[in-house]
C-alpha cells in the first residue's frame, strides 16, 4: 500500500477500512493530536487573534511573492549561497541531481520534506547511483517499508509499533534483540542513522518558511535530524515551494507561534533553526556550500485563480487530524502526496481534475478542518468549488452524473419529490428498527462497515409543515 493513485480513492478507502492494523494505528494516534492542540489553544488566550495575524502575514506574502522572492534571492547570494528556480518537478530533480554530482556525492542524508515527496526526489537520486537516507524517524520507517508518508507531519502514523519492530528486525542487521518498546525502536533508528549522517556528502532539508529580508531558510523539527543534515555534510540543499516566503523575522515569528501549536500542540518545537548561507570563513563547522531550490510546480497558477487562499497553507496537519474521513481511512487512500482536506484541494489542482475527481467528493462538509486551520483557509468552500469545477469539466463518474441528473428532475417536480422522499424516509425507518440507526443499505454492500446513520425523523418537513400545530410552542 501507499503507492496508489488519487484515481483509485474509493477502492483504496475500502481496503483501508478493512485493515485491522491501520485501524489500531490511527486509533492510537488520533486522540493525541486533537487533545494536544486543544490544550495548546487553551493555554494561550491570544491564540485566535494570533491565527488572524498569521493569516494576514500569509496573505501579504502571497500578494507580494515576486518582490519577496527576489529579495530573498539577493540576500542568499550576498551571504555566499546559491538560489535555483524550478518551474516543474522535473527541473527541480535535475538541479538537485546536478548539485550532488558537482559535490561528488555518494551518500545523501535527507531531512523530512513534503516538497521532496512532491517532486519524487529519492528515486531520481537513486537512479544516479546515490544512496539516499531519510533521517526523520517516520520518514525513515516509510522509506524502509517502501511506502510513502501517510501524514504530512507524522509520515508513519499508519503503522503500529509492532509493525515497526517487525520492519526493523527484517531490514537491519544484527543479532536478535528486544524491539518491543518505543524507546528500543527509537534507539535502534538513532544508531543506524548516525552512521548515515556521518558519511553523508550532501544534506537535503525542506523549509517551513523563507525570510526575504535576511535570505534565511527556517526549519522546524523535534528530532534534530534536519539540523544534523544542515551541519555535518559539506553541502546543504534546501528545497522549498515559492509560497513559503515571508517578508521579515517578525512575520516569521507570527507564523511560528501558531504552526507548532496547531501541529503537535507545542508552544515551539525542540528545534527551530534559521539558516543563512554557507559556513563563514572563521566558523569551525557547517557546510561549505549552501543552495536553495525554489519550486513552483503549479503554485503560481493556483495563485492566479479561485484557489489562491490555499497558498496560505503552512502544512501544520491540523485539518488532517480533525477530518473524519482522513481519520477513518488514513493518508494512503488518497493516493497522493498531500492527503486529508488540504490534499483534497491541492491534489486536483496539481495533478488535474480528472485524475483526482473523487477526492473533493470524499468530504462530509462538516467544516471542522476550516475551524482548526490556523491560517483560516476555507477548505470546505474550496472543496465545494472543486466539485462544481469537476461537474463543469464533465469529468465525474458516469453513474454520479446520471444520479445527479435524476435528482435534479425529481427536485423540479414538488409533488413527486414529496411523495418519493416520504416513501424513502419510511423505508429507512423500517431498516433502522428499534436502535434508530441505519447501518446497512441493502443495495450498497459494505456501506455500514465504517459508519451508520440516524433514522429519519417521524415525518418529512413537508408532512410536518402541513400538520397544524397544537400551539406555537411546539415548533421551537
Amino acid at each position: 500500500m501507499g503507492k496508489g493513485s488519487p484515481r483509485d480513492f474509493k477502492r483504496q478507502a475500502g481496503v483501508a477500512l478493512k485493515d485491522p492494523a491501520l485501524r489500531i494505528a490511527l486509533g492510537r494516534a488520533r486522540s493525541g493530536f486533537v487533545e494536544k492542540r486543544t490544550q495548546a489553544r487553551r493555554q494561550l488566550p491570544e491564540f485566535d487573534r494570533l491565527c488572524a495575524a498569521a493569516t494576514r502575514v500569509r496573505d501579504h506574502s502571497i500578494d507580494h511573492l515576486d518582490t519577496l522572492l527576489v529579495r530573498f534571492e539577493q540576500e542568499v547570494l550576498a551571504a555566499g549561497g546559491q538560489v535555483h528556480w524550478a518551474a516543474t518537478a522535473a527541473e527541480a530533480r535535475q538541479i538537485i541531481s546536478g548539485i550532488c554530482s558537482d559535490a561528488g556525492a555518494r551518500v545523501v542524508a535527507k531531512g523530512k520534506s513534503m516538497v521532496g515527496e512532491e517532486i519524487a526526489l529519492n528515486p531520481a537520486l537513486e537512479a544516479d547511483g546515490l544512496t539516499v537516507v531519510e533521517t526523520d524517524l517516520g520518514e525513515y520507517i516509510v522509506q524502509l517499508a517502501k511506502e510513502r508518508p501517510s501524514h504530512i507531519i507524522a509520515p508513519a502514523v499508519h503503522k503500529t509499533r509492532e509493525q515497526v519492530a517487525a520492519l526493523f528486525a527484517r531490514r537491519h542487521e544484527g543479532p536478535r534483540r528486544d524491539l518491543s518498546g518505543i524507546p528500543e525502536l527509537v534507539d535502534e533508528a538513532r544508531r543506524v542513522l548516525r552512521r548515515a549522517f556521518l558519511s553523508a556528502d550532501v544534506g537535503i532539508t525542506g523549509a517551513n518558511l523563507l525570510i526575504a529580508d535576511t535570505g534565511t531558510s527556517v526549519l522546524v523539527t523535534n528530532e534534530g535530524n534536519g539540523d544534523l543534515c544542515a551541519t555535518l555534510p559539506d553541502t546543504h540543499v534546501v528545497i522549498a515551494g515559492i509560497d513559503k516566503v515571508v517578508a521579515n523575522a517578525t512575520d516569521a515569528a507570527t507564523v511560528l507561534r501558531v504552526l507548532a501549536r496547531s501541529a503537535t500542540g507545542q508552544p515551539i518545537t525542540a528545534y527551530t533553526s534559521f539558516f543563512s548561507g554557507p559556513k563563514r570563513a572563521e566558523d569551525l563547522d557547517g557546510p561549505k556550500h549552501f543552495h536553495v531550490v525554489l519550486l513552483d510546480n503549479g503554485r503560481a497558477d493556483i495563485r492566479q485563480g479561485r484557489y489562491r487562499d490555499m497558498l496560505r497553507c503552512i502544512r501544520c496537519g491540523a485539518c488532517l487530524n480533525h477530518c473524519p474521513v482522513y481519520t477513518a481511512v488514513g493518508g494512503h487512500a488518497y493516493g497522493a502526496v498531500y492527503p486529508g482536506p488540504m490534499g483534497a484541494v491541492l491534489t486536483p489542482l496539481q495533478w488535474g481534475l480528472r485524475e483526482s475527481r473523487d477526492l473533493p467528493n470524499a468530504c462530509t462538509l462538516n467544516g471542522r478542518c476550516a475551524d482548526v486551520c490556523p491560517v483560516h483557509i476555507p477548505l470546505p468552500a474550496l472543496l465545494r468549488q472543486l466539485r462544481e469545477d469537476i461537474h463543469d469539466a464533465k469529468v465525474e463518474g458516469r453513474m454520479q452524473r446520471w444520479l445527479l441528473g435524476r435528482w435534479v428532475r425529481l427536485a423540479l417536480q414538488p409533488d413527486r419529490y414529496r411523495r418519493v422522499t416520504a416513501q424513502v424516509a419510511g423505508l429507512l425507518r423500517r431498516l433502522a428498527g428499534a436502535r434508530g440507526r441505519v447501518s446497512r443499505l441493502l443495495p450498497i454492500p459494505g456501506w455500514g462497515r465504517g459508519r451508520d446513520m440516524p433514522a429519519p425523523a417521524g415525518k418529512t418537513f413537508f408532512q410536518q409543515y402541513r400538520t397544524p400545530s397544537k400551539s406555537s410552542g411546539d415548533r421551537s
Binding site: 507580494h64 503500529t160 507561534r257 527551530t272 503560481a300
Partner: protein, 194 residues
C-alpha cells in the same frame, strides 16, 4: 525564458504596501526569567542557577558524576577562559565520540523557553546536536521576552545558523508517543548565570 523569469512573470504583485495592523505578541506576565525556566522545564530540560560564570566547570564535573559520564567533553571556545583543568575538555567543535558538549547561548526567550544559539568561531554548531548530553550556559540578563526580540539577532549579525533550542531531541513518530533522544541530545541541562 529562464525558469526564474517565467515564474516571476506570473507572480506579478505590485509594490509592497505598508501593513497597518501592529504585530501581535502574546502577553508575558511577571518575571521573564521564571517564565523561561518553567517553559524549559516543561520541555523536559533541567535548569540550575549559578552565582558566577566561574562556577561552570565545577557544575559540569558534578553533572558528569551524577550521570556517570566518563567520555570526552568538548567546550565552546567562548568558554575557553574558565578553569577547566578538572574536566580536561577539548576546546572547539566536536565529533561523534564526544558525549558531553558545553556551549554558550547568546540569549534566551521567555515566551517559549528557548535558548538562542548562534553559529560562529566561538560557538560551533555541532556541540548543539552531536553529543548525548548538552549543557548550555546562559546569562539571566540576556533573557528576552518574545521570539521577535531573539530574531532581531538575525538582522544584527546574520550568523550561518541561529538555532532556537527548547528541550532535548524528541520524536513522536511511533504511535504519537513522545520519546526523547531521537537524533540530537538525549538530555539538555541549562546553567543560568546571575
Amino acid at each position: 525564458m529562464s525558469a526564474r523569469d517565467s515564474i516571476l512573470a506570473k507572480l506579478h504583485g505590485g509594490p509592497p504596501v505598508k501593513r497597518r495592523d501592529p504585530p501581535l505578541r502574546p502577553a508575558v506576565h511577571g518575571d521573564p526569567v521564571r517564565l523561561f525556566v518553567s517553559r524549559l522545564q516543561a520541555a523536559a530540560a533541567s535548569c540550575e542557577h549559578l552565582a558566577r560564570l566561574g562556577q561552570v566547570p565545577d557544575a559540569v564535573s558534578a553533572y558528569r558524576c551524577a550521570h556517570q559520564l566518563g567520555g570526552p567533553v568538548a567546550v565552546a571556545p567562548a568558554l575557553a577562559g574558565l578553569a577547566w583543568s578538572g574536566v580536561g575538555p577539548t576546546i572547539g567543535s566536536c565529533d561523534e565520540n564526544v558525549d558531553l558538549g558545553v556551549s554558550l547561548a547568546q540569549a534566551g526567550v521567555a515566551e517559549t523557553g528557548s535558548l538562542v544559539m548562534l553559529s560562529g568561531p566561538d560557538t560551533p554548531t555541532r556541540l548543539n546536536f552531536l553529543p548525548d548530553h548538552h549543557l548550555v550556559v546562559v546569562h539571566t540578563a540576556s533573557i528576552l521576552r518574545h521570539l521577535e526580540d531573539a530574531l532581531l539577532l538575525l538582522d544584527a549579525s546574520l550568523p550561518r545558523a541561529l538555532n532556537l533550542i527548547t528541550g532535548p531531541s524528541r520524536t513522536a513518530d511511533v504511535e504519537q508517543t513522545i520519546q526523547l533522544g531521537a537524533h540530537g541530545p538525549r538530555a539538555l541541562h541549562v546553567l543560568l548565570i546571575k
